[in-house]
């Protein structure tokens, strides 16, 4: 293990496959600013979590979690973490399961993001940076002014500017865009978006979301066919990405 620095980010990896665990351990050790703790079972992971959380008072900031573990399913683990002091922890699920339902389920259990195996280390690091960029959590909620790339949002006047030019928006469009800005880097499922913008009763009207995303992209993206901000998470929903961070 390399030297421990004060500002280092502690990551808990829960993964039973030695191949993946091994390369992640090696990769993170080489990256400055990250420290990886690797557990292979949910039981050990929970022990490690409790130890850090209760005894040392320094909870893990990030948890990389595989879903199919020998002693159980990761989804229950997510819920347990969220219920036991892990509300603030960033949870990224890594799993070979590619199904839409699995992803949605993991997100509904409380995961923040999802990476499907196989992924490159670059993809993982980009995700981490995107999530950490909006940390510490809560700051964006208190703010009323955001600058994301060339976009500038003022919540007091409900105006959006792109490169200084005001973009006209309908109230619903604004509401949707605001929701994304508030959750930068997070995957928002169709259900979540529908619930937040159109109300719980319209949860089976996913095409509302699709239509509005299309309109927003036409307004804010340079190339609506290759969006930079409103990125599609295939089969799950959308994510507001910051093009500057991803690069």
């Amino acid at each position: 293990m390399t030297n421990i620095h004060e500002g280092d980010l502690d990551i808990l990896l829960v993964e039973d496959d030695p191949g993946i665990g091994g390369f992640l351990q090696a990769a993170m050790d080489r990256e400055p600013g990250y420290r990886l703790y690797w557990e292979t079972t949910l039981k050990d992971a929970w022990k490690a979590w409790e130890k850090r959380q209760i005894q040392e008072g320094r909870p893990f900031a990030l948890i990389l979690l595989d879903l199919g573990l020998p002693d159980g399913d990761g989804q229950g683990f997510i819920r347990r973490l969220r219920d036991h002091g892990g509300e603030q922890a960033l949870i990224i699920v890594i799993s070979a399961r590619g199904g839409e339902a699995d992803k949605v389920q993991a997100l509904d259990s409380g995961a923040d993001d999802y990476l499907t195996k196989p992924f490159t280390i670059g993809e993982l690091l980009a995700r981490l940076r995107a999530h950490l960029r909006r940390r510490p959590v809560g700051s964006s909620a208190e703010s009323s002014h955001w600058v994301i790339g060339v976009l500038e949002l003022d919540d007091l006047t409900h105006t959006l500017r792109k490169g200084g030019v005001p973009i006209p928006m309908t109230p619903k469009e604004y509401q949707l865009f605001h929701l994304f800005v508030m959750n930068q880097g997070r995957i928002l499922s169709y259900r979540r978006i529908l619930g937040a913008v159109w109300g719980e009763h319209s949860s089976d009207q996913a095409h509302y979301v699709r239509l509005y995303i299309k309109r927003l992209r036409e307004k804010i993206e340079d190339d609506p066919g290759m969006p930079q901000y409103l990125v599609t998470e295939k089969g799950v929903g959308y994510r507001f990405g910051n093009p500057e961070v991803s690069k």
Binding site: I20, A26, R30, A96, R97, K117, T120, H207, K214, G225
Partner: protein
């Protein structure tokens, strides 16, 4: 018995119900119009044809089914003016008979069918014996029919006609036909006119029996026949009037609850008169009438001839319009009474035999005595009956085998031997008495005789014991054994007393033996059923059930059974015989027809029924609830000559088999569903496992490679390239694994597509994101028509289609050339085309490339899995669209297009502006 006015004036509920049923039936049934005449030559056919022409003038589709014009010019002219159905030709012996074509008529479905000579007997081999049965089927099928009837053919009067005219009427019609007719038209001319017409040769007298017919046309006969016809017509009008009153109670002047007559018939031939008498009584009183027979355990031992008579009586009654029933009970009198009370019978008709038996009516145990002694609320009518000699037994009859109860050659020889042995025993006893008489004394000798008589009664029954007794007594006297015995009146009386005692005891023993035999038969029947149930419940599958049934029925009843079943997946299709038989080839078509009729009409057909009686087998539908599951075919079984309870027994058997078949089929369906579910679970598990096990190591390889290349300080350029190669190959392999899994899911046919409303642009964004690696910075142009509606598709799958098409376009075209996408819609479908500037598709392979593992070698060695387009085709097919490729005209490149059906648009979100 009189009908009593109902005080409240409300209609009789029974009558109302009957009326409703009649109306309901009439709504579906065709209308029947009868032209009734007293004799041939009165002009019935002429009148019917005139009626047909009138109807045709009104626009009704009139069709002549059969009309006998007998070359009478006026009639012929009328008939020629109407369309006629070609007759069917039936070869019979050396001639070909022309008959009415029932099937053609049913298929043609005219608005009105003209059917002459209703009493006609069809040629042997036709479906029904009689034309009136054809008529019934036509009416049931909803066809309206007009027909002609001569009064002498009616069942209820044909006996009278025979007495009046002295001519045997061969062909008879059930009276019900007249009652069911919607209209009866009496075609009447005076007897003078008819005789005149006869003289002018205007009356057809048939090919044979000219003289007999002339005899028939005597004035006296004609008057009598005309009277019968007029009375019948009058009765009919009367009936209509009563019906009118029932329907319009305010106009009813007089009504009453209906009388109900009951007749109990036995297997005596003379009871036929009783049935006819009851019919006349019932008609005169306008009463309903019931004819029943009570089967007693003793009845099981009856001769086949008796059974045939019972059958005959009940059949006759039915054709005269009676309701018939067959009951079972030990005490006939009690059973009849119970049934009479149950059905609110007001009058019981009993037959009183002439001859010796008439003095025995008071004998305790006789039906008459029982009814007279115990019933106060029901009138009893005693009708005198002539003694009718039963015709000699049919020779064929003797050869029938019935469970070994009724005569068989074997049993007869056993019985004859029993008589001989019994006689011999009687003689032997006398011999014994002669040699031992001195020691035994008078009483001892008679004890010896009694022993012998009781013994034979036990062994052989009533009659052999009597023979023993008679032989013993006769030989006793002829051997002179009585010598030396007192001959006083007292001792003779004593002697007679002893004889009576012996007789009584031996008869009692014989009776108890008989009862035991009957109990054994009943028990055997019950055991047969039980065994069948057991066999059915342990049989597996439809075939197992049928085989078990065939085996059991053969074992227990000795009859050959086969089954006709519809094919499993085609309930309306042709019936298949089971077991498939080879020795039935020629008549199989007939058998099939009979089976089909029985299956569709849910009635018995074939031998000993009225339908297709010529076919040497009985067909019984196997009913489970209201559904016929198949037909049971019993070869060479004439129920009229079988023991009384066979019909019911076989019907029970048919029902049992049907229930077993039903549950077997249901469980088969359950098993299939079960297997399907398991296969699905297994496949899903397998796909999941394969997906996980293939992807996880790939993830490790890819991760390791990328980690190494990120910290490339210590690596040479070559090593760096090698790592890059690993990364590329791994990603390609992952891609291939993805596609194989995807194809497997599509192939399994169990991919449940989840359609949602999506804008094409949304799908395109995702697809382009997926092909980033292959397409890199490729110029991309879209031409999506502004008003393109939303697509109702499975977004994941449709993204896959677009991804594959875009990837192919990138792979098979130079990297600097743009990829174009075009989308437009018409009313029916939405079309999306991906256009490239590549090399196009080799001509002639436009369809082949959509097959699995088919690919055109790409120029840069960037081969795919060969599954991409096959996956596209499968997905598009799932969506009900089309996919195709063509080469571009004038320039190089391929155009891949697909369509999806356009659906009515969903509700759009309302903006809060």
């Amino acid at each position: 018995m009189s009908t009593e006015d109902r005080k409240d004036g409300r209609p009789d509920p029974d009558a109302l119900l009957a009326q409703v049923q009649q109306e309901e039936q009439a709504r579906q049934r065709g209308r029947l119009k009868i032209f009734l005449g007293a004799a041939p030559g009165v002009g019935k056919t002429y009148a019917m044809l005139r009626y047909g022409q009138q109807e045709m003038a009104k626009g009704v589709d009139v069709l002549v089914g059969v009309v006998e014009t007998h070359q009478r010019s006026e009639t012929q002219a009328l008939a020629d003016a109407l369309p006629a159905l070609p007759r069917v030709h039936i070869p019979y012996k050396n001639v070909v008979l022309e008959e009415f074509d029932l099937d053609a008529a049913l298929a043609r479905r005219p608005g009105l069918l003209l059917l002459d000579e209703l009493a006609h007997s069809n040629a042997p081999g036709s479906r029904h014996k009689k034309r009136w049965q054809d008529l019934a089927e036509l009416l049931d099928a909803g066809l309206s029919v007009a027909t002609t009837v001569n009064v002498q053919h009616l069942e209820s009067v044909h006996e009278v006609v025979q007495q009046i005219t002295g001519i045997q009427v061969q062909e008879t019609l059930p009276d019900q036909i007249i009652q069911q007719a919607d209209e009866v038209i009496l075609v009447d001319i005076s007897d003078e006119d008819l005789l005149q017409r006869l003289k002018e040769g205007k009356v057809y007298l048939g090919d044979r029996g000219q003289r007999a017919m002339t005899h028939f046309f005597r004035k006296g006969n004609l008057i009598a026949l005309r009277q019968l016809a007029l009375r019948l017509a009058a009765d009919r009008v009367d009936l209509e009037l009563r019906q009118f009153h029932q329907q319009n109670p305010e106009e009813r002047q007089r009504s009453g609850s209906r009388d109900r007559l009951l007749v109990a018939v036995s297997g005596r031939p003379e009871d036929e008169h009783l049935v006819r008498a009851a019919y006349h009584l019932a008609t005169a009183q306008r009463a309903d009438w019931l004819v029943i027979h009570v089967d007693t355990p003793r009845g099981l031992l009856q001769k086949p001839q008796t059974q045939a008579w019972i059958w005959n009586h009940l059949h006759l009654a039915e054709s005269l319009g009676a309701e018939t029933a067959r009951l079972t009970g030990v005490n006939i009198g009690a059973e009849v009474l119970a049934y009479a009370r149950l059905r609110d019978v007001t009058q019981i008709v009993l037959g009183q035999t002439q001859g010796l038996r008439k003095f025995l009516w008071w004998w305790p145990g006789s039906l008459t005595a029982h009814l007279l002694n115990s019933e106060r609320g029901i009138d009893v009518v005693i009708h005198p009956l002539p003694v009718k000699k039963a015709p000699p037994e049919d020779r064929r009859l003797r050869n029938q085998q019935y469970l070994g109860i009724v005569d068989t050659p074997l049993r007869r020889s056993i019985r004859n031997r029993a008589f001989v042995i019994s006689g011999a025993i009687g003689l032997a006893l006398s011999g014994l008495a002669w040699s031992l008489g001195a020691y035994l004394g008078f009483a001892g000798v008679f004890m010896l005789y009694m022993l012998g008589a009781v013994g034979t009664a036990l062994m052989y029954g009533r009659w052999p014991s009597l023979i023993t007794f008679v032989a013993a007594v006769v030989s006793y006297y002829s051997f002179g054994l009585d010598r030396g015995l007192p001959t006083t009146v007292g001792s003779l009386a004593y002697f007679a007393l002893i004889l009576s005692l012996i007789l009584l005891i031996s008869q009692l023993v014989a009776r108890s033996r008989e009862q035991e035999l009957m109990a054994r038969i009943r028990e055997r029947r019950a055991r047969n059923l039980y065994q069948l149930v057991q066999a059915l419940s342990s049989a597996r599958g439809v075939e197992g059930i049928l085989n078990a049934s065939i085996e059991k029925l053969h074992q227990t009843l000795g009859i050959a059974v086969a089954f006709w079943l519809p094919l499993v997946d085609n309930a309306g299709g042709p019936l298949q015989m089971f077991p498939a038989s080879t020795d039935l080839e020629a008549p199989q078509r007939n058998l099939r027809a009979a089976a089909r009729w029985s299956f569709l009409n849910k009635k018995n057909a074939g031998m000993s029924t009225d339908t297709l009686a010529d076919i040497p087998a009985l067909f019984m539908p196997m009913l489970s609830g209201e559904r016929a599951l198949g037909v049971m075919m019993l070869s060479d079984l004439d129920l009229r000559r079988a023991p009384a309870d066979w019909l019911r027994f076989l019907e029970t058997v048919a029902r049992l088999i049907a229930v077993a078949l039903d549950s077997a089929q249901a469980s088969l369906q359950r098993t299939e569903a079960d297997v399907r579910l398991r296969v699905e679970q297994l496949q899903n598990a397998l796909l999941g496992a394969v997906s996980h096990d293939l992807r996880t190591p790939l993830a490790g390889v890819l991760g390791t490679a990328t980690t190494l290349s990120r910290n490339a300080q210590g690596l040479t350029a070559d090593e760096h390239d090698l790592l890059e190669n690993i990364r590329e190959q791994t990603q390609k392999m992952e891609h291939t694994v993805d596609r194989i899994l995807h194809m497997a899911a599509l192939q399994s046919g169990r991919l449940h597509i989840k359609k949602e409303w999506v804008p094409l642009e949304d799908l395109l964004v995702t697809a382009r994101d997926q092909v980033k690696a292959v397409c890199a910075d490729r110029p991309f142009q879209t031409r999506i028509s502004k008003d393109l509606p939303l697509l109702l598709v499975d977004p994941q799958l449709m993204v896959q289609v677009l991804t594959n098409l875009l990837e192919n376009a990138c792979r098979y075209s130079p990297s600097d050339r743009a990829i174009e996408l075009e989308a437009y819609a018409n009313d029916a479908e939405i079309t999306v085309c991906v256009i490239d500037h590549g090399f196009g598709v080799p001509p002639g392979r436009e369809e082949e490339i959509f097959l699995r593992f088919s690919q055109v070698k790409p120029p840069h060695g960037l081969g795919g899995s060969g599954l991409g387009l096959a996956i596209c085709a499968a997905i598009i097919e799932l969506h009900g669209g089309r996919i195709w490729v063509r080469n571009r005209v004038a320039v190089r490149g391929a155009v891949f297009c697909f369509t999806v059906p356009r659906e009515p648009e969903p509700p759009m979100p309302s903006d809060g502006d």
